[in-house]
């Protein structure tokens, strides 16, 4: 049989071979080669996700345990609702939760979830209500003789423990117990993959959108009426009628719904409701308040939710949810 590959000259062959070997040698860390994840799922369903990994090695080292981090919304309680197994040419086994407080290799005293958050933050999501859940393989693997180890991590997660419809970018990261998130002349010993926005539907709670910038956000994202909350109006998200003229302040016009079926409205343009621009010309306005005091509830009343608009100094121009006439809604809850 005739070969279609013609490379003239022995030297060229050798040269190509050398370059290939050099490339292989240069790569020695764990690599996530792909993630198979559905684009949507429903709350409460068990979703399979497969993370394909490849671990090229240089020389001899280890044995090290594989470390895997999974970035998910805190409300999903992924540590309780997820199982992960792995399989590959070297065998199969389970990925186990790393006990909290286990100090990470090269993590500067941090444990693995904290080290992951410090290194990769929240994977480009916009609400800091996400967590890295850290797992470790039940068996260690050696780095030997340039063998490449490839395999799959098979995740099964019961979605949306908090019952909220969610838009979120899920994140995946791998490394090993011998290196952590480091690089050296041999290569990079970790790999991170953040997927496109994943949509969770069919829930009973509010939509939590980690992916898209919101006109208003409340920090902490989960709070009760006895927390101190910071409400931010971001005029850069869309061009609202409020921002035309670049005002230095906007005002909050809000109605609280209480546990005893009453509504309390605070809609005035005074210092109490003033939202101050975070920095000049930032078009972002902020107010921080204690809801109990802001709405003047009695000791036995609890505020369950608030509906609100952002207004100008006259109160005549109002902006609501998605730049419409409908109010923004925030429900006070912890999960």
């Amino acid at each position: 049989m005739r070969s279609y590959l013609h490379i003239k000259g022995k030297r060229l062959w050798k040269c190509c071979a050398l370059i290939s070997i050099a490339i292989i040698l240069a790569c020695c860390g764990e690599i996530i080669t792909g993630v198979d994840q559905p684009a949507t799922a429903t709350v409460g369903s068990v979703v399979p996700i497969t993370v394909h990994i490849n671990i090229p090695t240089v020389g001899n080292g280890g044995p090290d345990y594989l470390i895997f981090g999974f970035l998910v919304p805190k409300g999903w309680k992924a540590a309780q609702n997820t199982t992960i197994t792995y399989n590959g040419p070297l065998g199969s086994g389970t990925m186990n939760l790393i006990p909290a407080g286990t100090v990470a290799k090269n993590g500067g005293g941090l444990d693995w979830p904290a080290y992951m958050k410090k290194t990769f933050q929240i994977g480009g999501n916009l609400i800091d209500d996400m967590e890295w859940v850290a797992y470790q393989s039940d068996k260690a693997y050696p780095h030997s003789d340039g063998n490449a180890l490839s395999g799959d991590l098979n995740i099964k997660i019961k979605m949306g423990a908090d019952g909220n419809n969610t838009l979120v970018k899920l994140g995946y990261v791998i490394t090993d117990t011998g290196n952590g998130f480091t690089s050296d002349s041999n290569g990079t010993y970790y790999s991170e993959k953040v997927t496109d926005c994943f949509e969770l539907t069919g829930g009973t709670g509010d939509l939590v959108d980690f992916c898209n910038p919101q006109l208003t956000t409340i920090n902490p994202p989960k709070s009760l009426d006895n927390d101190i909350i910071t409400l931010t109006f971001d005029g850069t998200v869309v061009d609202t009628k409020l921002i035309q003229g670049n005002p230095t302040e906007t005002y909050l016009c809000a109605t609280a719904y209480t546990s005893d079926g009453k509504t309390i409205s605070v809609c005035e343009q005074t210092d109490k409701t003033k939202m101050v621009q975070t920095t000049s010309n930032s078009k972002k306005y902020q107010i921080t308040f204690w809801p109990k005091s802001f709405f003047g509830t009695t000791g036995t009343q609890t505020i369950t939710k608030i509906e609100y608009f952002i207004t100008d100094k006259t109160g005549a121009t109002k902006v609501g949810y998605g730049n419409t006439d409908a109010p923004f809604v925030y429900t006070f809850k912890c999960s």
Binding site: P220, L224, D227, I228, T288, F289, W290, C334
Partner: protein, 147 residues
């Protein structure tokens, strides 16, 4: 002969010096210093406050909020989120080495929290960590006596 005399005198002098040096040594008896009882009686105000690590001091008006401790009782003025939302009794776990303070609002259940009591710039400070709303939201108030 004269030389011998000088040696004799030097020897005498050395013995005298050695005797004086030895006599000057005596066992020192350390004075026992009693650890003072930590007294937090007085009116305290918030000088620094954080929520989940974010500084709130300049964006919430803490200037009027007071926690007053007196004879085992406390009361709150110009309320803000705190461990308790009503006046009542307080106690420390140890009067000399307190690590925990317990507030019991009248008619309520006791709420305990770890606290520190350092001296900063010559003034006592009281640092209290608590979660008045969702358990995941942690607040730290640093209080200082108003007078």
């Amino acid at each position: 002969m004269k030389k011998n005399n000088i040696f004799y005198q030097i020897n005498l002098l050395l013995i005298a010096v050695a005797t004086i040096l030895m006599a000057s040594c005596k066992t020192e008896k350390p004075l026992s210093v009693a650890e003072p009882v930590k007294d937090i009686t007085g009116s305290w105000q918030v000088i620094r406050a954080t929520r989940n690590g974010t500084d709130l001091t300049s964006i919430i008006d803490f200037t009027k909020f007071r926690v007053n401790f007196k004879a085992g009782a406390y009361n709150l003025e110009n309320k803000l989120p705190f461990l308790v939302d009503a006046d009542g009794q307080y106690s420390l776990d140890d009067p000399k080495y307190p690590f925990k303070i317990t507030f019991t609002a009248t008619g309520g259940t006791p709420v305990a929290t770890p606290f520190t009591y350092p001296i900063v710039n010559g003034k006592r400070q009281l640092t209290i960590t608590f979660s008045p709303g969702c358990p995941n939201n942690s607040y730290v108030y640093v209080l200082q006596k108003t007078n």
